[in-house]
């Protein structure tokens, strides 16, 4: 059945070789944990990617019942936790997933650093990776405000206040990020737009670049 569907599509589109190129190719033995268990360090990036997919799915469904508005952000979050079927689990997955991503992405970066993977010819991919790290941290920072509870509010107050210490343009930067003189309605809708529209677009673009460059340069080692 499945084979017949694939053959039907292949007769018209010939996608099988593309799929083989993208996903179904052997990895070197020294990076395969089923050959050598210690090779699990090569999986940190892939695990991060899986977690990102989970964040996309849980986030899309959470957005069904969330509104970025200062009177209802908290209420709708509470509604998800109290009244939506498995809502608390969904919210927790998104919450814990974000923490796990930051842990995995840090481990991934440490492996790259310690194995010297950033050296020529992979400097560009290192730069893309650092950009991805910044994007992911911004995801975490903007997402933290969205429940609009006290912790979220004051954490964002502190976080955004850091930029006031930038010489000359500090105040202007603060107002651009907060959307005004104080953390309020404009901050929330700004952070929401950044969290669900701008950052996912950036993340997908840079992930695409990241993976393309891995395919071009290949995997390092064995050492």
């Amino acid at each position: 059945m499945f084979t017949r569907i694939v053959r039907w599509i292949d007769e018209r589109m010939m996608v099988s070789p593309l799929w083989r190129d993208i996903a179904d190719h052997p990895v070197p033995a020294h990076t395969n944990p089923s050959e050598r268990v210690s090779a699990f360090v090569y999986c940190f990036g892939g695990v991060t990617f899986l977690l990102i997919i989970a964040q996309f799915v849980t986030g899309m469904f959470l957005a069904m019942d969330y509104v970025p508005d200062i009177t209802n952000a908290y209420n709708s979050t509470k509604y998800i936790m109290d009244h939506v079927l498995f809502g608390e689990q969904l919210l927790s997955m998104h919450n814990w997933g974000s923490t796990l991503i930051i842990i995995m992405v840090t481990l991934h970066m440490l492996r790259i650093y310690w194995m010297g993977v950033y050296k020529k010819p992979r400097e560009l991919n290192w730069l893309v990776g650092v950009t991805l790290l910044l994007i992911i941290l911004t995801f975490g920072f903007t997402g933290y405000l969205l429940p609009w509870d006290e912790k979220a509010y004051f954490a964002t107050q502190v976080g955004v206040s850091f930029v006031q210490y930038v010489p000359f343009i500090g105040t202007a930067l603060y107002e651009i990020i907060a959307g005004g003189q104080t953390i309020g309605a404009a901050t929330l809708s700004r952070f929401f737009a950044i969290h669900v529209l701008f950052l996912p677009a950036l993340l997908l673009t840079f992930l695409g670049l990241h993976f393309l460059m891995i395919r071009r340069n290949g995997i390092t080692g064995p050492y």
Partner: protein
């Protein structure tokens, strides 16, 4: 997956690892999918409790109904009320009205929802003909709320009500009319007074 050596027949080490990987990924996908689908299908399973709202003092509404009617028989009066509507997570003040009539007996008030069962317009009470007329598509209901003419498929909704300290409270329900919905053109007036425990 192309190996260096030709594949051995049967259950190989590679098959085993592939199986473990697929099962693990499947479990993870399920763990994400179950709450995600739950979020999407929640509305189909949501049960709302009736919201009891204050309609007004029974003595005043009784007097109003009697003075609208003749010879000790009550007629229909419009009873406006305000309440706090809870729309999922949004709480906000709302207002509406009901058509109340004093009918005496053990269930002295007969309270109708003004929502037309055709497409949801508010019907008007026409005292000269003792009928409810819908301004949208001309549905006509009798004084008991039975659909006698026009496109309305069902009689008007009837509010369940109860007396609390001399005050009438009506139950706004999760139906199209916001009240108890009679399914046929049953001629009898359902008494929907809820006795206090």
């Amino acid at each position: 997956m192309a190996g260096k050596q030709p594949q051995k027949a049967g259950w190989t080490r590679r098959d085993f690892f592939n199986w473990v990987l697929n099962v693990t990924m499947g479990v993870i996908a399920l763990l994400v999918a179950v709450p995600a689908v739950g979020e999407a299908i929640t509305p189909a399973f949501a049960k709302t409790k009736p919201l009891w709202v204050r309609l007004g003092l029974a003595s005043k509404l009784q007097a109003a109904s009697l003075s609208a009617g003749q010879g000790g028989v009550g007629s229909v009066v419009k009873a406006s009320y305000t309440y706090t509507a809870l729309d999922h997570w949004v709480q906000q003040p709302a207002s509406d009205y009901a058509y109340l009539r004093y009918i005496g007996g053990s269930c002295p008030f007969y309270i109708l929802s003004p929502i037309c069962t055709h497409l949801g317009c508010h019907v008007d009470w026409v005292p000269s003909s003792s009928q409810f007329h819908c301004p949208c598509h001309g549905s006509i209901y009798s004084i008991d709320g039975l659909n006698v003419s026009g496109p309305a498929p069902l009689p008007l909704g009837v509010f369940r009500w109860k007396l609390v300290n001399g005050e009438i409270r009506i139950a706004r329900e999760d139906t199209f009319t916001g009240a108890y919905q009679r399914q046929g053109e049953a001629p009898k007036q359902p008494c929907l007074m809820v006795k206090q425990a």
